[in-house]
Amino acid sequence: MRNKEPADKLFKLEHLVPTVFLILSFVAWQFSGLSGTFVINQVITRFIRDGLLVLSLIIPVVAGMGLNFAIIVGAMTAQTALLFVINYQLEGARGILLVLFLGILLSALVGFVIGHILNRVKGKEMIVTIIIGFLANSLYQLIFLVGFGTFIPVVNKEIILSRGIGVRNAVDLGMYRNTIDKLWLLKIGDIEIPLFMILVVLLFAGMLYYLLHTRFGQQVKAVGSGNEKAEIAGINVNLLRIKVIILSTVLAALGQLVYLQNIGMFDVYTAHMNADIISCAALLAGGASIKSAKIRHAIIGIFLFHTLFIVSPQAGQNLFHNAALGEYFRSFVAYGTIAFALIINIKHEK
């Protein structure tokens, strides 16, 4: 159990960061001149797109492994599954099921490997997951830019560049676009609420919440509070950490599929970029730290972070007559939030 004093500090921080984000978002929204309904509609869309990705970060944090930047690998496995299915031109429900199956299978495999790697570098997981993410990105590009058409037979000529090697930059997902997005669409005035998808995200949140309160969840928490203690309690720490990473990677893969079907266009080489940074920043914006994260942090965080993300370019345009300044601001917020969390939290450890 944590002793009282650091707990108090964490408590304060847990409220400080969301408050800062709330104030920033509000000020930026005032300057942006965007209508409230537009912002709310956008935030709801982002909530659906990013929900699972942010949720996938929670369990590794609880297990004491810090922010899992390798969720980007999960996103890439989902895209890999999707590209293979598109290549073999499977449409309709059969195609979607196969994408899901392949995505889960691949991401579980990759998660297993990453889990093994992370067991060798206990205490330095975060820097290793970042490098794994970069490395996987190179590998991913190598497979799809070079492998397709050379080692991998191309069935669907539409997705290939004219030179016959490499996948195009953008692949249309027309057949999957908005298939489940517009289900149970609720309209209140101008605000559109895709109830089904919100429920899907909330369902996963509920499942995670339940999971954290089962025996498995207790074990994860025990590992998070100290490896030695957990080992004395008879938990196979290494195995548990692998399970945690597999779970996180699979969730991230599902999250990326939700993201892609919502966008409807698939930018093969850039769709997954920054998914890790943005998700981590969103989780931290909700009041999580690299030592503790709860479901509510994820949900509050997505709303706060994405509100700021949506309004800041327009606010930059209105304030400085330069939209780029708003863009810089939001990348600074994304990186800065993570840097801040790292600096503050490690200080608190002592």
Partner: protein
């Protein structure tokens, strides 16, 4: 330098390099020209690799926050260009400005890193990343006057790529260029590089330098012998940042352009991977290792370009480069912790 052993990654890299040279020979490329270029590339990137040494030796790990020093150097370069300083005077003034700015930035960066002892790498990565958008503000809003630096339309904000052609492009590269037939050896450039190596070598001979090494070897012991750990770490981090500033100045004068905005974001990774190829394990690193690593990595980079163009798809070069870079860093992170060297 004592006990220098060749380790598996270096063997792989050497084999890979030999295959590349062989391929280049088979494809009838001009090996002499490639050799000339490899010397220039060594110094062009080598100073950035040297910049990692003080932090490695003080035990603060690989400096993933190298962009902090790089942006400091870029500011120095921009100031020199703003005043239209040319030739050697311009280059040395840009070095001077860079050193001043990097000292300040390095001090702040060092203070931050001293708070996150043991996790400098991840914190450094994100401090470096955060610097980029922050500096984007500076590039857009700073009141630079020289029209050649600004966007042609609107006249506000620096261009992403500023040409150094009219100022101090290649001043070092062309200084004392020794030509023997087709062979061109940039003596001035190499001498400048050697000077920085010498400076680092002498630094580690001074009292502060020895304290730096002692801190890196065994912090508890160093503290007992009366070394102020916080101050020594700060010194090493400031030195590292200042060297990064010099590094980018040398890089820019060789490359011919000042690259701003998002360009410095991923510059730390090739440098880190170079020092690891040289044989560093993320701890005590010799200057020789940094030089060797920089030469090996840059030569591989150099050789992949024409070969990829010749036999494969052009994009392959960049992907292969990043692939090699990150594989090496990942390998080093795993290997280091397996041996339990790290805390």
């Amino acid at each position: 330098m004592r006990n220098y052993k060749i380790k598996p990654p270096q063997i792989i890299i050497l084999i890979f390099l030999m295959i590349l040279v062989l391929l280049a020979y088979v494809l009838q490329m001009d090996l002499v020209i490639l050799f000339n270029e490899s010397l220039t590339k060594l110094v062009m990137n080598g100073v950035l690799v040297l910049a990692l040494i003080p932090m490695l030796n003080v035990g603060a790990g690989m400096n993933f926050g190298l962009p902090v020093g790089i942006v400091g150097g870029l500011v120095g370069l921009c100031i020199a260009v703003n005043f239209r300083l040319t030739g050697f005077f311009g280059f040395f003034m840009s070095l001077f400005f860079s050193l001043v700015i990097c000292a300040i930035l390095g001090w702040i960066y060092g203070r931050l890193l001293n708070r996150v002892k043991g996790r400098e790498e991840i914190a450094g990565t994100f401090i470096g990343f955060s610097m980029i958008p922050l500096m984007n503000y500076f590039w857009t809003l700073a009141p630079f006057q020289n029209r050649q630096m600004l966007y042609p339309i609107g006249g506000q904000g620096l261009r992403p790529k500023i040409s150094l052609e009219p100022y101090f492009y290649n001043v070092l590269d062309n200084f004392c260029l020794l030509k023997i037939g087709a062979l061109e050896i940039p003596l001035g450039l190499l001498a400048f590089y050697a000077l920085i190596c010498l400076f680092l070598y002498l630094f580690f001979r001074t009292k502060s330098g020895r304290a730096t090494l002692a801190t890196g070897e065994n912090e508890a012991f160093a503290r007992l012998s009366g070394i102020d750990i916080g101050r020594i770490r700060l010194l090493a981090i400031v030195l590292s940042t200042m060297l990064a500033g010099i590094g980018i100045c040398v890089y820019a004068q060789s490359y011919g352009f000042i690259q701003l905005y998002d360009e410095p974001l991923s510059m730390a990774f090739p440098a880190i991977s170079a020092v690891l190829i040289g044989g560093s394990t993320g701890r005590r690193t010799w200057i020789f290792e940094a030089v060797l690593g920089a030469y090996l990595l840059q030569t591989i980079y150099l050789l992949t370009v024409p070969i990829a163009n010749e036999i494969l798809i052009p994009e392959v070069t960049e992907i292969l480069r990043t692939f090699i870079t990150y594989s090496i860093i990942l390998y080093a992170l795993l290997y280091r912790d397996k041996r339990g060297i790290s805390h």
